[in-house]
Amino acid sequence: MDWSKTKTIFIIVFSILNVLLYSLFLNRNADIGNVEVMGQASMEEVLKQENISYKLPPFVDKEASFVSADVVDFNKESLKDLKGQRTKIVSNNLLKSTITDKITLDEANDDDFKTFLSQYVLNGKEYVLWNVVKDEHKAFFFQQFDGRPIYYSPSAMLVITWGEDEHIQSYEQRMLKDFANFNKKDLLSPLDIIGSLASRGLLKQNSEVTDVKMGYSTLVRLTETQVFAPTWDVQVKLENGEKEHHFLSANEGKVIEFQLNGEDEKVADEEQSE
């Protein structure tokens, strides 16, 4: 056997193989790069195809903390300054109040109930109007921390009810206290969030994303403390004029679905005050 020729053939074959492998490596890297560009482009494409427009808030936080807070146990002493109402404490942390003053819905509803809240509700300024359900004669409010609402937490909600005569009848309140920030983390941007919703097909055709706001949603309930995670609220106006809200974890982009389920209310050890 001619070893010299064999050696040369081996060298040539392995050189060609190396060139081939190197070109495959380069192509693979180029493909990876293209996927990222395609990702951004495909999102814009989907939004365009579905005729979905969006407005981004001018200033957004790039990072936010988790928040812990404790549930308030109401007591007679804390309610002594509430006037024009009869109050009842249920299971320590639910305040049920019957309004004895004559207040019309129009009066109360002025400026999103702000005057009513400050005059008749304990720490009323911490609550912000979320929704008015006219058929049920109810208005729903969320407690805020640092100007950010705590979405759908039964422990941080206020519900005002009025009667057929359009006079305020009562309200039910739960409240959190001793808020503390911890574990600041980077947030996904509103654009990332809109892209995430679009890629999951959760944004309807011909809709408009009107705003993206920051709030909190319940992450964990400990025995005393509740922990809340930063949450984006994506507000969408549909083609028929209706509004939709999509809630997503601001750190992970996970879609959060809330359910307003009435907690069992124990009427044992209740207290009454005027």
């Binding site: 988790f66 574990n183 992450l219 964990v220 400990l222 025995t223």
Partner: protein, 262 residues
């Protein structure tokens, strides 16, 4: 006896223990270079380390074992099944550096006695260690799906605990892990949650100054503050107020804890 938790979490675990006669590591789950760097942060080096005690063969506990053994000639201790499982994962370790530490046995190193005990984890033969010196006791227990009465009996009344507080069950269940991984973590051979850790702590804490290092926290399903709040509040429901004689301490995946004397 003094100790520092060099790193804790699923990215790597190692605990440094020393007395006047020498120093020891429990696990070397970081690269050798990182362990040396962590030791330097507490003003120590590998030259004083007389042995490394391996708990089980998962990579976050043995990543640096092979290199440290070869580079520093340090003896490695593990039980027989763990040795078999480690072969091929840690590279060549000279025969005269391979020592056997059987389950449920005690070995003495000068004035320190080290007791091994079984835990429930998805590795071949996992075990952890209790360090005794005079009347002082350091108990290390992480990587266990639950804390049995037998484990509690062994770690009971330690002065310091390195105690697993891996995850918040709610966060894990709602999180992004695949269901198979969630099921594994929550199982009897997975990891201990914040609440379960606190319930177990209640059974092993004595009425004396006790330091508990919350360890092996999940990066995705836990947070230091959350673990502390959760353990604090669960202990409170059991009648133990932290800060009185029980002190909860954080551990970190990147930074070693301060070297403390017990």
């Amino acid at each position: 006896m003094r100790f520092s938790i060099l790193a804790s979490g699923s990215t790597g675990n190692s605990i440094y223990i020393e007395n006047e006669q020498g120093a020891y590591l429990v696990d070397a789950g970081l690269t050798a270079k990182r362990i040396e760097a962590q030791l330097a942060k507490i003003g120590r080096s590998m030259k004083d380390v007389k042995a490394i005690f391996v708990t089980h063969e998962h990579s976050d506990h043995i990543k640096g074992v092979g290199v440290l053994a070869r580079k520093h000639g340090v003896p490695i201790y593990a039980n027989q099944k763990t040795w078999q499982a480690m072969d091929g994962l840690v590279g060549e370790i000279a025969l005269d550096q391979r020592y056997q530490f059987d389950m449920e046995t005690v070995q003495s190193f000068g004035s320190i006695s080290i007791e091994s005990f079984a835990v429930s984890h998805d590795s071949v033969d996992p075990m952890f260690y209790v360090f005794h010196e005079n009347d002082r006791k350091l108990a290390i227990i992480t990587d266990t799906g639950y804390v049995s009465d037998r484990m509690k009996g062994i770690i009971k009344s330690a002065d310091s605990f390195v105690f697993e507080s891996n995850h918040d069950v709610g966060m894990l269940q709602m999180g992004r892990y695949p269901w198979s991984v969630k099921r594994r973590i929550l199982s009897d051979v997975g990891h201990v949650s914040n609440e379960d850790a606190a319930i177990a702590m209640n059974d092993v804490i004595e009425q004396k100054e006790t330091h508990i290092y919350l360890s092996h926290l999940s990066r995705d399903n836990n947070m230091k503050d959350l673990a502390r709040m959760s353990v604090e509040q669960t202990l409170k429901t059991c009648g133990i107020i932290t800060g009185e004689f029980v002190h909860l301490k954080d551990t970190d995946a990147e930074e070693p804890t301060q070297l403390i004397t017990i």
